[in-house]
Amino acid sequence: MNDAAANTTSPAANIVRARGLAKRYGTTVALDNVDFDIAAGRIVGLIGPNGAGKTTALKAILGLAEYEGQLSVLGLDPRTQRTQLMQQVCFIADVAVLPRWLRVSEAIDFVAGIHPRFSREKCLAFLARTKLQPRQRVRELSKGMIVQLHLALVMAIDAKLLVLDEPTLGLDILYRKEFYQSLLNDYFDEEKTILVTTHQVEEIEHILTDLIFIQNGRLVINASMEEIGERYCEVMVGPDKIEAARALRPLNERGIFGKTVFLFDGIDQKRLAELGELHKPSVADLFVATMKGTYA
């Protein structure tokens, strides 16, 4: 392997590097010249309202759709080097995409047969924790069990990047919790990178290291969770100080138990502390505040 190839994929380099990434469907702009980098060993949440361009971005990264601009994933071009890329990238796109006729044992045999980085032992170990039987067909499984199978297959692959597009859509809370717990405990390490989109922000908030908010094809926020904790602050303000708080141009305000909660972006926290009690905003609150007026 030559040095150039080694450089582009060394751990320090970005797993994903996008410059001027754009995609149009007719007159609709799905992605509007976005730039972003995703470093190794991160868990990045790509959050946005419906139709914001999340899936378009993921499809571009996975080489499933055409795009304009520059995009490099693990140093490869997703358009022309998809097959090589897929040795290093796994994805679970939406639930229930496993073919309905496939048996559990066939799924394992097939992936073991064609994927050089698949470990049958690991996969069987994951499946041992579930109720799945080798002879069962996907069509006999519940939605939650299908995701368990898909996750077991994917977690047994030693990939550098895992892309999850609404992986837990339609699952009950037990399966959802288990899904992210398995990912965090049994899969994720500093060698791996996870890129996830979901509408259930509250559930993945605590596992994310980075957050990307996307709206109308543009990135609204692209920061690490630490940066977000420093930048954004919620203050619970009594009625007497409301005007003073509004003067600081909050992103959002909402009433709660006779008090008003203001969300501020980049205001000195000492100054905010004078107005009332400080809180770290939840990603969901931040999302609602940032995306105000999306569907209006």
Binding site: M86, A93, P99, I114
Partner: protein, 344 residues
Amino acid sequence: MNTQIGTARSNPTQTFAWLLKREYWEHRGGFFWGPMIAGGVMIVIAMLTLIIAEATAARHGISINGMNLDAISRNMTADQVRIFNSGVTAALMGISVPVMVTLFFVVFFYLLGALYDDRRDRSVLFWKSLPISDLDTVLSKVATAVVVAPLFAIAATIVLHIVFLCLISVYAAFHGVNPLPLLWNPVPLVSMWIKLVCMIPLNALWALPTVGWLLLCSSFARSKPFLWAVALPVGFGLMVGFTQLLRQLSIPDSWYWKNIVARILFGVFPGGWFNIGNGKLWTAGSGDDFNFSLSRLDLVNSLLNWNQILNALGSLDLWLGAIAGVGLIAAAVYFRRRRTEAYS
């Protein structure tokens, strides 16, 4: 140097074998059970026929006991044996026709769904999450259609032949006739089976335009690939017929139906190349006399004749079609690469 992309490589041959296995898993009902059931139906029909024949014979007091086939066979000349063998071969080929028709329908609809069904149920996203190139995926479907499915059909045909011969033998033995020397002559049987297998490459070459066209529709259509595959060429043909476009170029309309429509829709019928050799097959069936004339036996046997096969291999039609088929398959790969959606 630290671990890099490509430290582990998949083995291309192994990957392709798994792709073929996947097609079999998904379609074993059509590839395996389809021809077997068609053969089974023929056996049931043969049994019923024998039972009815027996009952009828008994009712009318006809006895075929005492007919000494043994003695007849010993006294036959070499030429007569050849004719008898031709008759057996023709009969066996005849009862295999339903198996081949089944194979045609199975392969036709397999190809139409091959690159469409997984887009409709979105499992294409799972297959595309694995390190398999779109070229390999499409080629595995081509190979399944022209090699794997015919092999299963031939296996079913051989089983059908053996069961049928057993049935006839038991019937003959029941009437005190030893069937072994004539019916179970291994030379024509085995040579027929070997030729069936040897014809797979020729059938495959002949089928390429159909394989390519159906796969292209399957990978291109966002919905209803069957309509694309059938309505488009037929509609175009009707339009050309009305506007007399081809006739103005002094090409008869039948040329379009025979060399375009038939080639892109019916090419997967086994032995479809046969009429390009001497064109006898389609005229031979018009005679009403029930005598198995020598020429008719020869006709069936000529389907299995090496000269006939070599003739077909030398025809321009075959190779032009094959080239067009490769182009259509390339277009199917192109759309497989770009299209992951379908309307359900």
